[in-house]
């Protein structure tokens, strides 16, 4: 029997993945260990090898369609072999979307609002019946364009399918307009040619002036010229107007940005944040760091901040915990997250058991994680599970900023650029290197005084060169 190829699950937190590139076509022979496809998860793009030997009989999940992990994406077997009509149920439970059609499920356990009038309706309304196939896969319908960066076609598909006559369709195409707002007057709401004409008249289509080249481009890129503002003489639509309309189309966010959007929105809207800023005087630390450097021992300012945070978290374990609103759970170890910015997004690799690392090990681990993050070579497990995060924008020339807490953590420290400032010291004005640090914390478990003590503990450590002398 043909072997089902499943969407692999990389890392604990990954729920969905999409294949960005199939390396084989249907009918190609596949050897065990050969690259079959590349997937993009929440975190990264990875190559997937085949576990099976044979011929790729069927591709079920096309490129750039997101499916739950463990979903069957294709079959490998011998040519002519039958493929199961319904794929065998996949092992891992994937929460969304449902693996089997929803209507078959019993009603929800908790009492639902009584709906007398609609008793005849199924207990659980199928939310998007057209979007889930019996095999549990999100279909690769025509609205999915290849290439993550390709302009996405108009926004989410119209709720109901529009029925349109061939003549009407041809007119729509010829006229470079979007038919979706057109109400059909034909049988069953079918859009007829006369409906298109009436619509065009109501939108004053005949007044549109457009250059021949612009119209050709609009047709090729399916731009609705009724929505293009012309900037040529007398409002004539020129080629750059159509180019602008194409450029202004909504595009799908990359997987990584979608994850960032979801997680940060969740954190910012469900966790009550508050912020405490202090300025650390790192003048002496910078001198000390330079001395170390001259002796051949290189450390970054981030290394010192990370170490100061690690030590302070051990003094204030509540900052190294997570709250869900009803319970609070302490983390037994410090798995320190460090935000690393990438070309189009950011990742937060975790330094595991950071409390057990000496300064040299900490430096090496941080450097290696940052380098591999930028190369996109982090393993999924390295990108998850941090317990507190440091975000250093010191190299980006900022005075201060407020970070959003990573979901599952109690706080995040935002480190800004160290600047020479005139400060009062022992009753005199002096020029010192001052570095602002802003702590964002979850107010559900941390109050103002605790946050102040914690952030000052970090500051004092950074200002205490004797401490660093003993640690390095």
């Amino acid at each position: 029997m043909a072997q089902a190829v499943a969407m692999p699950k990389f890392g604990q937190m990954v729920e969905e993945s999409s294949i960005v590139k199939w390396h084989k076509k249907e009918g190609d022979s596949v050897r065990k260990g050969e690259i079959l496809f590349e997937i993009e998860t929440d975190k990264a793009v990875m190559e997937v090898e085949s576990f099976f030997e044979g011929t790729l009989l069927k591709i079920l999940v096309k490129e750039n369609v997101s499916v739950p992990v463990s979903s069957v994406v294709g079959y490998i077997g011998t040519p002519g072999e039958a493929i199961p009509a319904t794929p065998p149920p996949t092992a891992a439970a994937a929460p969304v979307p449902p693996q089997t059609p929803a209507p078959a499920q019993p009603a929800k356990p908790q009492p639902a609002p009584v709906q007398q009038a609609s008793a005849a309706l199924p207990a659980v309304a199928p939310r998007a019946p057209a979007s889930v196939r019996p095999d549990g896969l999100v279909p690769s319908d025509a609205k999915v364009t290849p290439g993550a960066r390709a302009p996405a076609p108009a926004l989410p598909a119209a709720p109901a399918r529009q029925i349109i006559s061939p003549r009407a369709k041809a007119l729509v195409k010829r006229s470079c307009i979007d038919p979706s707002p057109i109400a059909g007057s034909g049988p069953g709401g079918r859009v007829q040619e006369r409906d298109v004409r009436a619509y065009m008249e109501s939108r004053n289509y005949s007044a549109i002036r457009i250059s021949p080249a612009a119209k050709k481009l609009a047709a090729a890129r399916e731009v609705d010229i009724l929505r293009v503002r012309g900037t040529g003489a007398g409002g004539r639509i020129m080629i750059h107007d159509v180019e602008r309309a194409v450029a202004e189309r909504p595009r799908a966010l990359t997987k990584m940005r979608q994850v960032i959007a979801r997680r940060l929105t969740e954190s910012f809207t469900t966790t009550p944040h508050f912020y405490v800023t202090v300025a650390a005087d790192i003048t002496d630390l910078l001198v000390f760091r330079k001395d170390l450097k001259n002796r051949g021992e290189v450390y970054t300012v981030t290394d010192f901040v990370l170490e100061a945070v690690i030590m302070s978290l051990q003094e204030f374990p509540i900052l190294n915990s997570v709250c869900d609103g009803r319970t609070v759970r302490w983390h037994g170890s410090v798995d320190l997250g460090m935000a690393v910015s990438l070309e189009d997004g950011l990742v937060v690799p975790a330094i595991r058991n950071a409390q057990d690392l000496g300064m040299r090990e900490l430096h090496d681990t941080a450097a290696s994680l940052a380098a591999r993050a930028r190369e996109g070579k982090l393993t999924p497990d390295e990108m998850t599970g941090s317990t507190f995060t440091v975000s250093n924008m010191g190299m980006l020339d900022v005075d201060t900023f407020h970070a959003i807490i990573n979901p599952g953590e109690a706080g995040i420290l935002a480190v800004a650029t160290a600047r020479d400032r005139v400060v009062a010291r022992n009753g005199k004005m002096e020029i010192r290197s001052m570095m602002n640090m802003t702590l964002s914390v979850d107010h559900r478990i941390v109050d103002g005084s605790l946050a102040a003590d914690f952030v000052n503990a970090i500051r004092k450590k950074l200002e205490d060169v004797a401490l660093w002398t003993s640690l390095t």
């Binding site: 250059s211 021949p212 080249a213 050709k216 481009l217 080629i239």
Partner: protein, 467 residues
């Protein structure tokens, strides 16, 4: 002190249209000119050269008239008479500009303009007399450019740039041209048509390097084979000397001698003495004034147009378009950009017309284009006229079929380019241009044929051999 809404510095092809347009819009306008109305174009550029070229073309054609059944006997030309006619044409146009300015109520000041303050202009008369100061709500700088003459060249009456050449009343029997740009090539062709022995020396790999190689090749072949011009490229002209007996130099290993050396190595913007700093302005490292698409300088009340501006094409009609735009923006307080599609015409033999991008530019930009070419050898009118050489070509975007560039080399190329400029400006597709019915028999049919050729549907050319 007299006050005007608009003060224009320079009455060349940029300045005087700017002054007239501003006056048309109801502004009080003053224009300052230190030499002659009409500027370089009218007095020492476009117009006088084309007047001389008209004579040389006619002479050249008459000498070859036998092919068309004309026997003209012994032909002679009188260069002094040609030069005199040139002066008359220039004088006529000169008076025309003056009348136009006066008819529009523009006040003309003779003298050299400079800034006194951001909107105050000082005018120093050429001869005796006191300076005049006028105030302008807006000042438009239109001071143009002048021939660049490198300092290493000997200062001698046998070493001339284009303006001094036009003052000659006798044609040298041999001419050495330094610089194979537009001006150098035009003068070379004109002198060669009149029988002078001409050598062009260009340091770059080819003459007129901004053109596509096929266009250049066509021109160069004619210059060398039909006109007998010696074209030396890829080498600088060195050891230049001038004496009472002639000029000499060396290009690579080749020793060159001639009666006269024409220097045409480029033009420099004229900003000296303007005291731009008093208007809060400065020039870039190459001496040009930076402006935005609406011709505004860094100073909100000062505009600049034409050859003096950074990014200028050094073409009269570009200056005119900018002048009109600047005047409208100044008077109407708008921010309209000046057109950027500037056709260029080269009055060599054969003529060249170009508008939009070249094939080379498309390639350099990584743009996918289709090219349609049509040779005059396939055109009835060209054969009937005894002018079967040259071609036109169209460059269109592969996806949208939008016309992006048009180039013509051959008879009437400089007039033909107008239609192509209209089509490109209107964002025509090649298909659309091909559908326009062109009168037969005319040279303009070549565009229609080239548009068809672009889609492999040319009627009057054999299909490309199928692979």
């Amino acid at each position: 002190m007299d006050k005007f809404d608009v003060v224009v510095m320079g009455a060349g092809p940029g300045g005087y249209p700017a002054a007239i347009r501003a006056a048309q819009l109801g502004a009080s306008v003053a224009i300052v000119e230190r030499e002659k109305l009409g500027g370089t174009c009218l007095n020492w550029g476009c117009i006088p050269t084309k007047t001389l070229i008209a004579s040389s073309e006619l002479f050249h054609a008459a000498r070859r008239g036998e092919a068309l059944g004309i026997k003209a006997g012994k032909l002679e030309y009188d260069y002094a008479a040609m030069a005199k006619r040139k002066d008359e044409v220039v004088a006529t146009l000169n008076r025309g500009v003056e009348q136009l300015l006066k008819a529009n109520g523009v006040k003309i000041f003779e003298g050299t303009a400079s800034f006194d303050a951001p909107t105050r202009v000082n005018i120093a008369p050429a001869g005796e007399g006191r300076d005049t100061r006028i105030e302008g709500g807006t000042v438009i700088i239109a001071t143009g450019s002048a021939s660049a003459v490198p300092g290493f060249l000997p200062k001698h009456r046998r070493v001339v740039e284009s303006r001094a050449f036009l003052d000659l009343t006798a044609l040298p029997s041999s001419l050495l041209v330094l610089g194979g740009g537009v001006i150098g090539c035009e003068f070379a062709c004109m002198a060669a048509q009149l029988g002078a022995e001409v050598t062009v020396v260009e340091m770059l790999d080819d003459i007129l390097a901004m053109l596509d190689s096929d266009v250049r090749r066509e021109l160069r072949r004619h210059m060398e084979q039909d006109l007998g011009i010696r074209v030396l490229t890829g080498k600088p002209l060195e050891n230049i000397e001038a004496s009472a007996s002639g000029v000499s130099g060396k290009a690579g290993e080749t020793e060159l001698k001639a009666d006269m050396l024409l220097v045409s190595v480029g033009r420099r913007p004229v900003t000296d003495g303007l005291a731009l700093d008093r208007a809060g302005l400065s020039v870039n490292e190459r001496g040009f004034i930076a402006v935005d698409a609406a011709c505004r300088t860094r100073n909100a009340s000062v505009f600049a147009i034409g050859d003096v501006t950074a990014g200028s094409t050094l073409l009269a009609h570009a200056a005119t378009a900018q002048g009109v735009t600047a005047a409208e923006n100044a008077v109407l307080k708008t921010r309209k950009p000046a057109g950027s599609l500037v056709p260029s015409c080269i009055f060599t033999s054969p003529e060249i017309g170009a508008v939009g991008i070249t094939e080379q530019q498309a390639r350099d930009a990584g743009r996918k284009v289709s090219v349609g070419k049509f040779g005059f050898a396939g055109l009835g009118k060209a054969l009937a006229s005894g002018e079967p050489n040259g071609f036109v070509k169209l460059i269109a975007d592969s996806e949208t079929d939008q016309l992006l560039g048009a180039h013509a080399v051959g008879p009437h190329a400089t007039d033909l380019i107008g239609e192509a400029a209209l089509a490109i400006h209107g964002e025509f597709t090649a298909e659309e241009l091909g559908r326009v019915i062109h009168a037969h028999p005319t040279f303009a049919e070549s565009w229609m044929e080239a548009a068809h050729a672009l889609h492999g549907a040319c009627i009057h050319a054999a299909p490309k051999r199928r692979k």
